[in-house]
Subunit: 213 residues, 2 copies
Amino acid sequence: MARAASTKGNTRIQRQKTTQILDAALEVFSTYGFRGSTIDQIAAQAGLSKPNILYYFDGKEAIHGVLLDRLLHTWLEPLEHLGESENPVDEICAYVTRKLEMSRDYPRESRLFANEILQGAPNILAELQGPLKSLTDEKCRLIQSWIDAGEIAPLDPHHLIFSIWSTTQHYADFDVQVKAVLGASTTDRFETAQTHLDHLFRSMLTPRRTDGI
Amino acid sequence: MARAASTKGNTRIQRQKTTQILDAALEVFSTYGFRGSTIDQIAAQAGLSKPNILYYFDGKEAIHGVLLDRLLHTWLEPLEHLGESENPVDEICAYVTRKLEMSRDYPRESRLFANEILQGAPNILAELQGPLKSLTDEKCRLIQSWIDAGEIAPLDPHHLIFSIWSTTQHYADFDVQVKAVLGASTTDRFETAQTHLDHLFRSMLTPRRTDGI
DNA sequence: ATGCACCCTGACCATTCGGTCAAGAATTTT
DNA sequence: AAAATTCTTGACCGAATGGTCAGGGTGCAT
């Protein structure tokens, strides 16, 4: 009787249609942003009628909300795994690689996040200030301990993480620009980017014998 | 008689109002994107009536177009100056600094650009493939010559430029996130970022004696 | 001060958008 | 197979949005 509030997918059809809708919504929202997207666009993308969309979700905002929730989980996961093996430099470079792979494999999620942040993060500000900040601070302490032990070069952990986020996500969010300037195929772009970023962060992190220039 | 097509500012009032409108539009467009912004919002931001806005501009798209035109010029300018002095490493680091200052001083322009690219650059794709690609390719040849001369470490010039763009613009486009994680004041944020990025690119660019890991 | 070009706006229009609803179609349960 | 539940949609609604226009106000040169 009661309509499926959000992801309440119990029946076979419910599961199929909700994922179908969410996939279409991700496509649309990640391209046009929340206010720039319409339910009709999502419906067309999903191959469903508008009322049918609204049968499964309580409204445009509800769909967007579900996408953001899932996104935050996916987005934080790689960072949580940082620091589970031994070599700090390899550890951080592995994180860079993982983030770059996510830009390659989940560009829509990256753009959805970028759109949300660009507009001032009206829906996820609390998550940024809470869970994201906590996790980031924790990993920064870990990085700082590596610095104190002399295992990596001294640098600002927070800004290091910002550099990792920005350089890797750039290949998803600014893909059109990268494509326009580079003109290479997708695999080529990401392969050369991988080599470059690995070199970048490795040369930055590896401690030098002499600290002077 | 004929209405001012775009920036046709001849009269005193025309000049004043058009800049007033463009400033308001920049504020709104950079926050909500093109499709997410309304003329009413721009009017309210500018302190003018909606018909008054449309008296000076031929429509929502025309305003957006003027902003994008000006933006592209402003945006390419720093890159054009790359390579006018001697020391390559200092030269590139100066470019990084300049770009970071632009993120600090013109965050709205940066976000406007990000919004446009995120949505697939529907209005400036030609500019990206033309002028931007030409200028970038030219500067990449310059960087390559520095590499060949052994003045900077060997790396992919295109990806180097992408890294510069992404790391610097991050502080404008993702400001909310940076603020949430860092919690520092604006000047603090940009000062520490400046130190960090200078260190990052300097350590990356400075050639090492031994090329091995 | 008066004529003229420039400037401004309330009222209005067509379209689009988010969302509803009743009634019919499909599916599952019994 | 019939009943019960779930699914689907055409038609519709009120609000918002981009844009128009006639008419009145304002500034300025002569």
